[in-house]
């Protein structure tokens, strides 16, 4: 019989299996095991936190791999060119970990996330342009950055976003909603120099705005529901 032929293999296999399962219980770290619908524990919490950080809605961060977490994993996989199966396996977890990792300098020393501004910018994009086409979201982020380059506006992202009456989403609190993945991507892209707005410093929804000042600005183009102006 095979088992008798190679008893050491059996021992090693059982030993390994025991090691893996036991370490899974004792020191559950993200990436040690496959997570899927129904998984529970601190690794799931860690995974959920990282998904939120990347802009994927998981509902409550509770350490339970439910339908919302599965949907988030599916969307993450779809948007990152991975096989869409709703399971957090080695590849998916590796990608999640990589994208939420800190930046490093040339010799590998961690220097922080380097994205505090991008995060606020992404929140503004999310609050102002949710439901707009992606190009329109990049354009909204670009408007905020164009203001920095314009002498007539404040000089930091926070100063511009929180300037009194500058953005309605600040007045109604929507700015504090966690940004979506596409808002984060749009903010990153605009920070990297893309400007589909054509140098705009204002944008508004023509169907909802009667403000004379904003209508008087020279219009550049309309993307989705937003008119972008000088």
């Amino acid at each position: 019989m095979k088992v008798h032929a190679r008893p050491w293999a059996m021992v090693v296999t059982i030993g390994l299996l025991l090691c893996v399962t036991l370490s899974g219980f004792a020191y559950a770290a993200l990436g040690d095991r496959l997570l899927g619908r129904g998984s529970k524990g601190s690794e799931v919490t860690e995974l959920q936190k990282k998904l939120v950080q990347l802009g994927y809605v998981v509902g409550k961060v509770d350490g339970k791999f439910g339908s919302k977490t599965e949907a988030a994993i599916r969307r993450f996989q779809k948007e990152h060119g991975l096989r869409v199966d709703g399971l957090a396996g080695t590849q998916t977890i590796k990608e999640v970990k990589r994208l939420t990792g800190q930046s490093t300098n040339a010799s590998g020393k961690a220097v922080g996330y380097k994205n505090t501004d991008t995060n606020l910018l992404a929140r503004a994009v999310n609050a102002e342009a949710r439901g707009e086409p992606y190009v329109g979201q990049v354009a909204v982020a670009a408007v905020i950055l164009n203001r920095i380059a314009d002498p007539a506006f404040p000089k930091t992202i926070a100063d511009i976003i929180y300037q009194p009456r500058a953005f309605s989403s600040v007045d109604d609190g929507q700015i504090n909603l966690p940004p979506s993945a596409s808002a984060i991507r749009a903010a990153q892209e605009a920070m990297n120099g893309s400007d589909p707005s054509g140098g705009a410093v204002f944008f508004f929804n023509p169907a909802k705005t009667s403000n004379k000042y904003i209508w008087s600005r020279p219009q550049i183009k309309q993307i989705g529901n937003h008119m972008f102006t000088k």
Partner: protein
């Protein structure tokens, strides 16, 4: 019996709601006070920074040694930054272009430009001395008026939000007092904001300053790289269709999506998941985006880079890829012109390659068309001479000639050195003609690729 019970229940309910209302009123009052304190802090800080700015400008005008001038000019620039920050926190009824802000930004910018020049051993021309004096002249009345607002805040009970709102407003039915006042319709002199608006209007009437610095000019008014001759809407449709066909969308039937204005203005076309902009002048694709669903990746970044090169060739561009950024399902590449061994960074085209099949899903060629032109290169120092200008122990990994963009829409012809110093990696740019340092960028490795800061 029943009636008594109901009266009792109503009385209890009334008392509870009264208590609740009172508590809410108290909490709201606390928030109002916190806001009031913040506003006062911003305005007082604004006035105080303006005052220091004015004093430093005066001192900067008279200082005779370069070291003293640098000191005061640097203080002018930092005080103007601080004043601008305070100014942006004062309550407003709407945000528009602000001439107070512009004046502060430009005086700080001008002072910084001059300080940098003196620090590099340069001098200030008589004309620039005059601009500096003019800025000071213009600042004095601004300073006075803001201080006057502070005095009136106390003596005339000037408001931004009413400290004792009327019942109607307390119930949230009316508009905020400061808003109504700033509208200009209701007692215009009664609010801080209307005072600042008047100041803004008075600055708007004055001529702009002419100098060269980061904030002196804003955008390229005329694109330099667009082909000549205008195209019609029909011709632009043809260009859009042709482009989509080349990119592998053979059944594309673009629909008109409006016109765009401005320097690179033209026609917008939409087709299924695609969004395209074709310029009116020259009829070239300035922006293209495809939002199709991207399947699981089959390509690595290196393979995508090859695809990007092929796309560039198909579209007739002669460019080199300089950087990449990974966005998961697609990779973004930046490609620039390289002419006679000189990398021309302003002439940039950005491409996005889908990692499922290598198709182009994004193109932004607006920087290229805005800046591309035939450049003539001035005489330069040799590479050896340039290397000697670098810091000792700076370990050079790569070097080349390059044209980089400088603030204020200027360009500089440079030697680019990529190298290491004490565990950090940098890009150092030395002016190719003089060898002076033009720009330093630190290289950070982010999860999505290299990032220059």
């Amino acid at each position: 019996m029943r009636r008594k019970f109901w009266i009792g229940a109503l009385a209890v309910a009334f008392l509870i709601s009264l208590g609740w209302g009172w508590n809410q009123y108290r909490v709201a009052g606390e928030h109002r006070l916190a806001a009031e304190n913040n506003n006062r802090r911003a305005l007082t800080d604004f006035a105080s920074h303006l005052d220091q700015l004015e004093t430093d400008m005066a001192k900067g005008n008279v200082a005779s040694t370069p070291a003293q001038r640098i000191l005061y000019l640097s203080q002018v620039s930092s005080k103007s930054d601080a004043a601008l920050k305070d100014f942006a926190q004062i309550p407003a009824q709407q945000t528009g272009l602000s001439y107070v802000g512009q004046f502060l930004t430009q005086s700080g910018d001008f002072a910084r430009t001059l300080a940098q020049r003196i620090a590099g051993g340069g001098t200030i021309s008589a004309e620039e001395e005059k601009i500096l004096r003019d800025m000071h002249e213009r600042l004095m009345p601004v300073n006075q008026q803001v201080q006057d607002l502070i005095v009136r805040l106390d003596t005339e009970q000037l408001v931004w939000t009413d400290p004792a709102p009327k019942l109607r407003q307390r119930l949230g039915l009316g508009t905020q007092v400061a808003e109504a006042a700033a509208d200009g319709s209701e007692a215009p002199a009664k609010s801080v904001r209307s005072g600042l608006d008047q100041l803004d209007a008075s600055l708007q009437k004055l001529p702009p300053f002419t100098y060269s610095g980061e904030y002196s000019t804003r955008v390229v008014e005329k694109p330099l790289g667009l082909p000549t001759g205008d195209v019609t809407r029909e011709q632009s449709l043809e260009k859009a269709r042709d482009f989509l066909n080349k990119m592998g969308y053979s059944d594309a039937a673009p629909e008109f999506g409006g016109e765009s204005q401005g320097a690179l203005g033209g026609y917008i076309w939409k087709s299924k998941d695609s969004y395209l902009e074709v310029s009116r002048q020259g009829g070239v694709i300035t922006l293209y985006r495809n939002q199709r669903e991207i399947e699981p990746r089959t390509l690595s970044t290196e393979e995508a880079s090859k695809k990007a090169k092929a796309v560039l060739q198909t579209l007739g561009w002669q460019l080199v890829i300089t950087s990449s950024e990974e966005f998961g399902a697609y990779v973004q590449f930046d490609a620039v012109v390289e002419k006679d061994g000189v990398r021309i960074y302003p002439d940039k085209v950005r491409l996005m390659i889908a990692l499922d099949n290598g198709q182009l899903v994004g193109l932004d060629s607006s920087p290229y068309y805005a800046f591309h032109h035939t450049r003539t290169f001035p005489s330069k120092i040799t590479m050896d001479q340039a290397v000697r200008k670098l810091r000792p122990n700076f370990q050079v990994l790569e070097s080349r000639l390059a044209v980089i963009a400088k603030s204020g829409n200027q360009e500089v012809y440079c030697y680019e050195f990529r190298g290491r110093y004490q565990g950090e990696e940098y890009l150092v740019y030395l002016n190719a003609a003089t060898g002076s340092e033009e720009k330093i960028q630190r290289i950070i490795k982010t999860p999505r690729g290299e990032f220059l800061k």
